[in-house]
């Protein structure tokens, strides 16, 4: 699956000294039947035997609720690979967390969905790698994935659970945006995410095969804007913007350590799902610390919190509390310095370089994916 930073605030900022997080992404496992080349999981995946046990997750959900988290996103990998998922959902409901299940929908039986529904899940987000079987099956490298997803979507709606379709777009499917919208409508989804691939981890590794051209990106933005107007009240469209061709950087996570946190399968707590690509950050683990301690005091969360860490270029910018300096992981990946201005910003000295990288990748026409996988066979699977 691909979880992407939001481009719009989900709520107004809160006037307290230290912000209180609204959302927590719980990556329950890195196991997944699909092999999407843009996966947001790290290149070094956690093994099953490194995963937190049920009891630890239940404790983390309780701590999250007490910390002020309102919504929990149960994700992965494929979260239904955890047999204790229903128990976790029941616990989240009990402690008052709004539970959002983010699934690829492959290998999820109607009986399992029924149990998930009865456990009290509030919302299900289902990924589609393409709007047609040919594209979905190719991108996910799983034959028959599309058909299985369609069946799951119908079952979710039959159970009355609100459904969001999540589609990550890139060169192989960017022309399918109108078809994705039709698919969402035909399946009874009330919401769709059109998320342009974000280039970290697996997606960075596959950038040559994923990057669309500038023309494709701008046409896609127009298609979404037109549809948003036309489908008002019928289908909510949330877009995650592409930033290699942008003028301003995305407000990544709406600011580091400001609204959300992310727990990995092995219990590390990150300010965003890609944060481990930044070397020398000290991430604390829920096995050793409470979530509140980590949120407040862990070096990784305080490294880029607020505006004090910013280079002069950002600190003197009128947009500093609007885009929060953009993305730290992208600064790391492109500038080699996590504290640099995000090269997606037109003020960055590397802005032209970023654009050149995108144009070169889009023009080169690479088609082979380096599919997401455990680097050596995972015997535990």
């Amino acid at each position: 699956m691909n979880v992407v930073p939001r481009s719009e605030p989900i709520a107004a900022p809160v006037a307290v000294p230290l912000p209180v997080p609204y959302g927590m992404l719980a990556e329950l496992t890195h196991r997944c039947p699909l092999m999407c080349p843009y996966c947001s999981n790290p290149v070094e995946l956690d093994r099953r035997n490194a995963e937190l046990d049920t009891e630890s997750w239940l404790r983390v959900f309780g701590e999250a609720a007490r910390l002020g988290v309102l919504q929990v996103h149960l994700s992965g990998g494929e979260p239904t690979a955890r047999r204790d998922l229903e128990e976790m959902i029941r616990h989240c409901v009990k402690v008052g967390l709004y539970t959002n299940l983010i699934t690829a929908g492959v290998g999820v039986t109607p009986e399992r969905l029924q149990a998930i529904s009865e456990a009290g899940v509030d919302h299900i987000q289902l990924s589609f790698q393409g709007a047609t079987a040919e594209v979905t099956d190719h991108v996910s490298n799983f034959r028959g994935a599309h058909e299985r997803k369609l069946a799951v979507a119908r079952e979710v709606r039959r159970l009355g659970i609100p459904l969001t379709i999540n589609s990550v777009v890139h060169r192989a499917n960017i022309h399918q945006i109108p078809d994705f919208l039709e698919l969402a409508l035909s399946l009874g989804a009330k919401r769709i995410e059109i998320a342009h691939a974000q280039y970290y981890g697996w997606a960075l590794r596959n950038r040559g095969a994923l990057m669309p051209t500038r023309e494709q990106v701008f046409e896609a933005l127009d298609v979404v804007e037109e549809a948003r107007e036309r489908l008002k009240g019928v289908l909510t469209i949330d877009a995650v913007v592409p930033d290699y061709y942008a003028k301003y950087p995305k407000a990544c996570m709406n600011g580091w350590g400001r609204q959300s946190l992310n727990v990995t399968p092995s219990g590390k707590v990150l300010p965003c799902h890609a944060a481990e690509t930044i070397p020398n950050l000290d991430f604390w683990n829920v096995r050793e610390h409470s979530l509140a301690e980590i949120w407040q005091a862990s070096p990784a969360f305080n490294a880029f919190r607020g505006t004090d860490w910013m280079p002069e270029l950002c600190r003197s910018c009128e947009r500093k509390e609007k885009d929060w300096g953009g993305c730290r992981c992208q600064a790391m990946a492109i500038a080699g310095d996590a504290a640099a201005t995000d090269p997606a910003c037109h003020k960055s000295p590397l802005h032209g370089h970023l654009l050149a990288l995108a144009e070169a990748d889009a023009a080169a026409g690479v088609t082979d994916y380096d599919y997401r996988r455990f680097t050596t066979p995972d015997r535990a699977q």
């Binding site: 709520a11 809160v14 959002n100 509030d122 919302h123 609100p162 009240g233």
Partner: protein
């Protein structure tokens, strides 16, 4: 008696309820009420909170209006218009359903 003004968009006898996937709760950490929906956290204003607390799938829109008048000694016409406009907005967003 009917409270259905000429401009009302919802039937006064209809019974509103929050759609599945929408929840109203008090947020202790921030000392406020929040309306939770898929990928959304809304912060309703005090008037909206009073309306939402009465959206329980049992009371009709009329009954909600009666209750608000009793609780806050406000004029019926104004309350009816506020309730209708607010709930109609949530119906449009798919967050409230009205059974007639």
């Amino acid at each position: 008696m009917t409270t259905e003004a000429a401009s009302a968009r919802l039937p006064a006898a209809g019974v509103p309820r929050l759609a599945r996937g929408v929840r109203l709760r008090h947020d202790e950490a921030r000392g406020q009420w929040v309306l939770l929906a898929p990928e959304r956290v809304l912060q309703p204003d005090p008037v909206a909170v009073e309306i939402l607390k009465r959206v329980d799938g049992e009371r009709s829109i009329d009954a909600i209006i009666d209750d608000l008048i009793l609780a806050f000694s406000v004029e019926r016409g104004r309350v009816a218009a506020d309730v209708d406009a607010f709930l109609a907005g949530l119906v449009e967003k798919g967050m409230v359903e009205v059974a007639s």
